[in-house]
Symmetry: C3
Subunit: 137 residues, 3 copies
């Protein structure tokens, strides 16, 4: 049994942005030398998320609109009394979820043909980290 751990630093240009992680995850998986197991991809921040869906720009705009509808920026969140202005980013993180577990089979990410992994930044323009941990053999 083996484990492999890597920390990725994300620093987005925009406050809200999606980053396509699949290519990097494939490289990390090769480095891990693990062929059967699970890969956990988890944001280490409470204002970011990780999800699996389609790599289609129109859909991504739909996702942003939807996140904004269900967890809107702007309202006077109680959290803002601490001096923060990112209450919505916390709720968006809960909605999208901050982590995914990916199956690893025969040395590959065992994803469906349209499944791609994304980091969702809800309060960026600064260094933030994502942990990638593979457990298996």
């Amino acid at each position: 049994m083996k484990s492999f751990t890597e920390y990725m630093t994300m620093h987005t240009r925009n406050r809200r942005e999606l980053v396509h992680l699949t290519p990097t995850l494939k490289t990390l998986l090769e480095r891990s030398d693990i062929t059967e197991g699970f890969m956990l991809v988890s944001a280490m921040h409470i204002t970011a998320g990780v999800f699996v869906n389609d790599n289609e720009p129109g859909l991504h705009r739909d996702i942003w609109k939807w996140l904004q509808d269900l967890a809107p920026a702007g309202p006077d969140y109680e959290h803002h009394r601490t001096g923060e202005d990112n209450g919505d980013a916390h709720l968006k993180s809960l909605l999208i979820h901050h982590e995914v577990t990916l199956p690893i089979t025969k040395g590959k990410l065992d994803l469906g043909p349209w499944q791609e992994v994304f980091y969702a930044e809800f309060d960026g323009q600064r260094d933030k980290r994502v942990i990638v941990k593979v457990l298996g053999f």
Copy 2:
């Protein structure tokens, strides 16, 4: 340490449908010969989900109504410019989440008395796959 991998093909009659997976998962667990570990149950599509909740038909109708309220079908999603008409199915998948990790203890799915596992189809009437992967010993 052992791993066990199985792919289930789902083909629902209706476009939107729930499929109760627990009985099949119990059979797969027996076949895996793993007594301690985790079982990952993950949709391999971006318009489907997997969740744990109650096997109660009234609640299932509540869940469908809720999904329809929070991720409605019909609106002119940007994703539809690609020729698709399933924008809502992607959002429903994000809302419900596409995977669960189940604990395996003493050779059993270690679930609470009311916990059952469901596949949620949001754009069916065609073959779609779910991966079941068990890791443990």
Copy 3:
């Protein structure tokens, strides 16, 4: 390879309540004697959740308000025809999700500086269980 399993009993004073789990999880991790792997923290009930976010009381009030907006108590859910009155608790559990998988590195919960783990009770004032299972070496 080792596994460690513990069941925590939650019994909240209020029907809806958050319980900060991180200190207990750290103690359980020490007892597990596992230094590399994954910890699954999963509610064993369908009217409760587990999530990772900030330990800030104002934000917690925002989260409750948000949960109440998106999965309101009160409406005449079909589930209530069974005699239950907790339809909203099921939907809140789906929204927040009932489990998280935490990375374990060098014997520690490998969380970011602001990440804390919470149990979210949506229908409490009675004994309910959470399973904590660690898999690794």
